[in-house]
Amino acid sequence: MIDKERVREVIAKRVAKEFKDGDVVNLGIGLPTEVANYIDKDVEVILQSENGFIGLGPAPEEGKEDKDLVNAGAKFVTIKEGGACFDSAMSFAIIRGGHVDATVLGALQVDEEGNLANWMIPGKMVPGMGGAMDLVVGAKRVIIAMEHTAKGAPKILKKCTLPLTAAKEVNLIVTEMGVIEVTEKGLVLKEIAPDTTVEEVLRATEANLIISPELKVMEV
């Protein structure tokens, strides 16, 4: 069992490998935000922030915060040279119109059809969907970055039981145990973490998993 921090690092590092030079990417709050720290220096990824800009840069040095410049989680950030600001209508035109190459989001549940539930637990947690529903529908690729299980219970299910964020939009699931692609035929395990067995992955997953004939070891 690897510790929480290492789990997040493994997931974020693996997701970071999904991008190619010039990709426009929106990273969700939390773990997905950490992906930015691991993007290869030779790959220029342009981060979109749905509150209204492209060219999202790292947090400013202490004392250099600009009260007018925050990310979608209201944290102080910077804007890279060549960045551009716009209003929310334009921001979501960019998102819904397919001008974002990939979005990385966390999940409560994902299922065999690529359905995603990540915005509410009825009677318990109703924060609102924010921009998540638009991002999942609009981005060319939807990558889920999450821990494989929650308190030991599988999050990759045959069918989501929580209210959906979107239907059939997930393309890839990256966890600390492996990388799973959503295909027409179902979920395909393409990579597996080192020191993890296929049996362990299957045990931690409720959904049916097709084991790729070219199953690789995940680089972490």
Partner: protein
């Protein structure tokens, strides 16, 4: 036409039961001076339209905390526990709208369109009770336009005619709301002379703005 008013003068326009739009994203780009004055005035039963309910002590969250809001049409309430509490005990109604749909519904009203046809929310609870149209083989929800009695904007630089320029991420919903309300009030962080904002760099043209209040940096 002098649009520049004292805060007390514009407060006369704010009344119980109104629908008010507020620019801002988690409080960034919200007219704090005007919000504070509305808290002080204590008008009740407001319907607020905003991206979110911000924080208990920031942005429109202060109106929620002061129990002035009857209904909120927003995309997110997670940062303001008071909204959740009032919603759960039935003191306040919350209509959750996907962020892109929310801004496009406001734009639809302001642009004279009959509604928005969006794929966002198909296959989720968002489509419940709404008309779904299939256009060229793809499904879209018909979402209705949103209007307000008053729109309250925050402008980083506002000229004396009412032209607005927004700094960085303060823009968000402000320019869209400027089109969708009967009365539009802007809080100017910095009031500048007419001509200081180049015509090409004006984001909200002055014809959309009715009143200007000086707010300063905060």
């Amino acid at each position: 036409m002098n649009k520049i008013k004292k805060i007390d003068e514009v407060m006369e326009l704010i009344k119980d039961g109104q629908t008010i739009m507020f620019g801002g994203f988690l409080g960034v780009g919200t007219a704090e001076t005007i919000v504070d004055a509305i808290v002080k005035k204590g008008v009740k039963d407001l319907t607020i339209i905003c991206n979110d309910t911000a924080f208990v002590d920031k942005g429109v969250g202060k109106l929620v905390a002061n129990r002035q809001v009857k209904r909120a049409i927003v995309s997110h309430i997670g940062t303001n526990p008071e909204t959740g509490r009032q919603m759960n005990c039935g003191e306040m109604e919350v209509e959750l709208v996907p962020q892109g749909t929310l801004v496009e519904r406001i734009r639809a009203y302001g642009a004279g369109l009959g509604g928005v046809l969006t794929p966002t929310g198909i296959g989720t609870v968002v489509e419940e009770g709404k008309t779904v149209l299939e256009i060229d083989g793809k499904k879209y929800i018909l979402e209705k336009p949103l209007r307000a009695d008053i729109a309250i904007l925050k402008g980083s630089r506002v000229d004396k005619k009412g032209n607005i320029w927004y700094s960085k991420t303060t823009r968000n919903f402000n320019p869209i709301m400027a089109m969708a309300a009967d009365i539009v009030i802007v809080e100017a962080e910095k009031l500048v002379e007419v001509g200081e904002i180049e015509p090409e760099n004006v984001v909200t043209p002055h014809i959309l703005v009715d009143y200007i209040v000086e707010g300063g940096e905060r």
